[in-house]
């Protein structure tokens, strides 16, 4: 499977990829009483310095590129669902927080780990193509390539099923 889209590269004001973006920066705890996914998109990244207006800029099918340990912190599913609500097609991070990774896989939000993502020299607005089976990532603007860790089987199966519960229907668990 290939995913193609326009990227948002989460960089700080010095132009460096931001590491350790935690769940309070993605979806702040003041919104935790919200349980309706349709209300979640508007708050995505609104506590991340320089990215407060992300939800207004992002369009369905966009891809996010970010640094190490993305989604560290709490277990809140809203930090995944807010991106689903916006129609984000894929999150590429150098690495993910362990709980975030599970939450994304279970919700069928495609995520992929590419530790050398800087190699494609992506800027916000570039278009990239990601082959989730081989891990190949190409920046269509400059032709530069890197490799991500391909999807695991469980991740692929849950994604294809459309989420953990759809997947579970096929299993004897």
């Amino acid at each position: 499977m290939k995913i193609k889209g326009r990227v948002w590269v989460l960089k700080d004001k010095n132009g460096n990829l931001i590491n350790d973006i935690d769940t309070d920066m993605i979806f702040h705890n003041r919104y935790l009483a919200i349980t309706d996914i349709n209300e979640m998109g508007q708050y995505a990244l609104d506590n991340l310095e320089g990215w407060e207006d992300f939800s207004k800029k992002a369009k369905e099918g966009d891809i996010i590129i970010t640094g190490e340990n993305f989604g560290s912190g709490s277990s809140r599913q809203q930090a995944v669902d807010c991106f689903k609500a916006l129609g984000i097609a894929l999150i590429v991070a150098k690495s993910f927080g362990a709980i975030y990774k599970r939450n994304a896989i279970n919700s069928a939000l495609p995520i992929i780990e590419a530790k050398d993502i800087e190699e494609i020299e992506a800027e916000s607005g570039d278009e990239i193509e990601v082959d989730v089976d081989t891990g190949l990532i190409v920046n269509l603007k400059n032709g530069k390539k890197t490799y991500a860790k391909p999807f695991s089987n469980v991740q692929k199966e849950i994604l294809e099923a459309g989420g953990l519960f759809e997947f579970a229907k096929k299993l004897d668990v």
């Binding site: 590491n19 350790d20 935690d22 309070d24 920066m25 702040h28 705890n29 003041r30 935790l32 009483a33 919200i34 349980t35 506590n47 310095e49 190490e68 340990n69 560290s72 912190g73 709490s74 277990s75 809140r76 599913q77 809203q78 995944v80 690495s95 927080g97 362990a98 709980i99 599970r102 939450n103 279970n106 919700s107 695991s152 089987n153 469980v154 989420g163 953990l164 519960f165 579970a168 668990v173």
Partner: protein, 425 residues
Amino acid sequence: MGKTVIEKIFEKHTKDEVKVGNIIWLDIDTRTARDFGGPNVVKRLYQYYGEDVQVDDPKKTFFTFDTVAPAKTIPYANNQHFCRQFAKKRGIKVYDVDSGIGSHVAIEKGLCWPGSTFVGTDSHLNILGSVGAFGQGMGDADIAFAFKTGKTWFEVPPTIKIVFEGEPYRFPVTAKDLTLFTLRKLGSKGALGRAIEFYGKVIDNMNLYERITLSSMVTEMGGIIGFITPNREIIEHFRKVKNDPSIEPVVADKDAEYEQVITIDISDLKPQIACPPKPDNVKDVEEVEGTPVDSVFIGSCTNGRYEDIELAARIFKHFKVKEGVMVKVVPSTREVFGKLLRDGILDILYDAGVIVSNPGCGGCASGQIGMTGKGEVQISTSNRNFRGKQGDGDTYLASPVVAAVCAVAGEIVDPVKFLKQRGII
């Protein structure tokens, strides 16, 4: 090849082959949800299985309301009551807003036990590594799935062995200083996706409350869980509360395979402090001395035990809170609160000018006991100081002793120097 602690616990809870990197179906002994995440768990169950959905086993399923206790806004009140109604209809026990922090209640009441598996919507449930149990915080989809099936999928993580060398710390240095020092060495990604096992003379000497502090901040090291081999006292506690003399600790094999062995020398450990805005931004307290302090929070799943608050009371016994500083103490559970009350510790706190609240998560979760304002400097005994987590102010993370001396001095001070100058130690 021998097995690590996590491999041994997993083997008792799966039919699949337990090998690092394998994804296995894990049987979960105890499935919980708190008031954050809990309503979403219920919603998902309704969504996928209909309003008449039953859980796999009501006796193994619990709600623990600890984040906004009691509910301070209508949406939170609605959410909690939504869960209560779901639970009542299905015979599921609710540890309600009077109970305290779910992970601590689980240890006190024996909802977990050494070698057991436990999941919930609290990202610090890996705290249960402190009693040799596998605890894991997960999102609401995972927890709804566990409520319904009693299972979860899990990738068997590699284990890092951390061995502490050097003589154990002594008052006023505490387990929190050891914990922050470990985080300083490892960083926020040092254990990313890994299990940890902690060893060394200092670990053997630690009591339960100290083990809880260390295990609780494995989350901030990026880790899955940090195991400490339970001592005799901890095993006896669970045997008694569970009325089960067969409970034994799960111990790693001598020839267990570790991905990495890290030795940390803790000789001459100094009081540590995590400066804003990240938990791993740790310095010696003496490096930031003199920073004015506006407020102090003592509590949380990291430092909300009876002994933690008693440590702070050792300072407040001698000195009052400096005028203009606001100090909030939140016991972790009702049991802790009761002991503080009966032992006269609350009298000491009251006389010193401290605010004491009912048990719960306190300052960490949407402000059960208030948040910080812009420019406010807070010393907190909790585990996260990310921007906005405990309010708009700047949060420093430290031990209950450091927090208490800062409350008294009105600025950041090293407790060793402070207490020596005043002849207390």
